[in-house]
Amino acid sequence: MMQTLRPLLLVWLALLALLGVELGGAFLRLGHLFGGLLLLPAGAMVALVGLFFMRLRHASGLSRGFALAAMFWLVVLLGLGSMDPMTRTLHPVAMTTYP
């Protein structure tokens, strides 16, 4: 029985390690620009849970297709969605009169 549980335990430990990396990163003064780097360990954790705990590795082709489609559309939403705010010259600032 142990040989089926071993990979799951390894994944679990990897997840905790990545959590540690994130925690460490939280206390480094990475500032505005590099703060985004802390999303990398989070991405790795998501991938680990998806591949091993949700068994994406040997799911049906269709299921893998749907998972891939979800990621692709998420990238489109976040990518094209932030294209305008990132390249906009005028920034919103607090208004003067409250409604």
Partner: protein, 562 residues
């Protein structure tokens, strides 16, 4: 007439001769048998009744608006009422008529028949989707009639979140619930088309209508959740007076527009793709000819579904977005037009060297091709950056989307309705009345919306309860057209009702069409097929023109009846 399924045809012919008492309509007739049915055919009819109600409700609001716009001072209704009218018109027509329209009525009925299956993959989810639709509709109607909403169907903040006096949160909840109905329908179609095709029906042997339903379902499933979150953030901001869009906090109202249009542009392709599929079914049948460039047409549906997610920024060219992103969205909006262009050219290619019959479905289909192209080309006007600046938020935009949604999509919906009516009800509709209504709709439609292109160029703004006197003549023309349109849309109600009572009995295949749904009796039995059909040929395997010509020489009849 070719038989893709010679083996089972004999059997089915026998069934039609024996008076088909045991079809899905006569199986049982209690209220509970309708309200708790999981038969895709009955759910299609439940949806059809609800859709028709919402169409006429939205249409009545449109008729009132057009009456008000007869005079420059807009004397019929007050500004408050007019604002509530066009908001009701937009919300009801988009979310409760056209977004569900073809997929839930014709799609629900015909999909299992087309792939030779007993029902959709998740029949209970199908019924759940109707109940979600009805619940959402009831809440929205209650809100729109209790206090109404004066934000337009676009619900832009901070007007909707802080200044609107109407029922923003209840309408948002209503639309939110109807969104889950769309997701359920989309999910059901995708799994059905993947998993339940009859043996032998490869992807390229599937009718084009199912490819367009599949593409529509992809948009249902992937765009609607973003609308759900957008409405939720809007409700949060309306209730707690604070949120991510609130300019008083330095929030960005344009972010709401990004999230809204991320759903709403793909939503307009939800509205058109089924129509493209219906037209691709009708034209080959009434031209007695194989669909021109099948592979191009089907993959164009998929391409439209995918690219439709990249173009939403073209609704915000003057909203204050960055110039760089406006240019990117304008370029992508031109790209999304290419698949539509390929489809239009392929329909015309199908007509080439065909044997064209002018039954009512074909008139609607030909009308669709013309009006869809006009609507699409005016969309290209709006996609051109410097052209959108003067035209944005004017009647040019109103004309653009009515040409595609009313001229195109409603014609395709009516065409599909007439085409599959014999299969759904087992009765033939009166052909003459069908053609008269189609012609009247075509004329009334153009008279209503063509003047609006000119009004738009002249700068008449959208959503105006009153307007400067120099626009009156064009508005009177448009209002006159809308009364003709209203009458023309009422006509099918009457002759379809008449056909239910006294229409000729429909044979299994009245149009001599290929496709599995025509290999089973009209109306079909509860389990659709007596035995699983096997598909051996391509979907539109009509004989070559020479063969038909020889046959024509012998029988003197271009299309042997079914």
């Amino acid at each position: 007439m070719s038989h893709a399924l010679d083996a089972t045809a004999g059997e089915i012919e026998a069934a039609t001769v024996r008076d088909n008492r045991d079809n899905y309509l006569t199986d049982e007739w209690t209220v509970w048998s309708w309200l708790a049915t999981t038969d895709h055919k009955r759910i299609a009819l439940l949806y059809f009744a609800s859709i028709t109600f919402f169409f006429f409700l939205g249409g009545a609001a449109a008729a009132l608006m057009r009456f008000n716009l007869l005079t420059p001072t807009g004397a019929i209704v007050s500004p408050e009422t007019y604002n509530r009218l066009f908001t009701l018109h937009g919300v009801v027509m988009v979310w409760f008529f056209l977004v569900p329209a073809v997929p839930v009525t014709i799609g629900n009925f015909v999909t299992p028949l087309m792939i030779g299956a007993r029902d959709l993959a998740f029949p209970k989810v199908n019924l759940l989707s109707w109940y979600l639709f009805i619940t959402g509709g009831a809440i929205t109607l209650w809100a729109l009639f209790m206090g109404g909403l004066d934000t337009g169907w676009t619900l832009y903040t901070p007007l909707s979140s802080a200044y609107a006096k109407g029922y923003v949160v209840p309408v948002a909840v209503g639309i939110f619930i109807s969104g889950f109905s769309s997701i359920a329908t989309g999910l059901n179609f995708i799994v059905t088309i993947h998993r339940l095709r009859a043996p032998g029906m490869t992807w390229y042997r599937m009718p084009v209508f199912l490819w367009s339903l599949y593409s529509t379902s992809v948009i249902y499933v992937l765009a609607t959740p973003v609308l759900a979150m957008t409405l939720l953030l809007l409700a949060f901001e309306t209730v707690f007076r604070v949120g991510v869009f609130d300019p008083a906090l330095g929030g960005d109202p344009i972010l709401f527009q990004h999230l809204f249009w991320f759903y709403s542009h793909p939503a307009v392709y939800i509205m058109i793709l089924p129509g493209l599929g219906v037209v691709s079914e009708i034209i080959p049948v009434f031209a007695r000819k194989r669909l021109f460039g099948y592979k191009f047409v089907v993959w164009c549906s998929v391409m439209i579904a995918v690219i439709s997610f990249f173009v939403w920024g073209h609704h915000m060219f003057v909203a204050g977005t960055s110039i760089y992103s406006a240019i990117v969205f304008s370029l992508l909006s031109f790209m999304v037009a290419v698949p539509s262009a390929i489809k239009v050219f392929n329909w015309i290619g199908t007509l080439h060297k065909g044997f064209i019959h002018f039954d009512a479905p074909m008139i609607y289909a030909l009308g669709f091709v013309g009006l869809f192209t006009m609507g699409g080309l005016t969309g290209l006007f709006l996609a051109t950056l410097a052209a959108d600046v003067p035209l944005h938020d004017t009647y040019f935009v109103v004309a653009h989307f009515h040409y595609i949604m009313v001229g195109g999509m409603v014609s395709a919906f009516f065409g599909g309705l007439h085409y599959w009516w014999p299969k759904i009800t087992g009765r033939m509709y009166p052909e003459m009345w069908g053609r008269v209504a189609a012609a009247m709709i075509f004329f009334g439609f153009n008279l209503t919306f063509f003047p609006q292109f000119i009004l738009g160029y002249l700068g008449m703004p959208r959503r105006y309860h009153s307007y400067p006197p120099e626009f009156q003549v064009l508005n009177v023309l448009s209002s006159a057209g809308s009364t003709i349109l209203a009458v023309a849309y009422l006509m099918p109600l009457f002759y379809f009702a008449w056909s239910l009572l006294a229409g000729a009995r429909a044979p299994a295949n009245p149009w001599g069409a290929t496709g599995l749904e025509w290999q089973t009796p009209s109306p079909p039995p509860v389990q659709n097929f007596t035995s699983t059909p096997v598909v051996t040929e391509d979907p539109y395997s009509y004989p070559s023109p020479e063969a038909i010509q020889m046959e024509q020489a012998e029988t003197g009849e271009a299309r042997p009846n079914g």
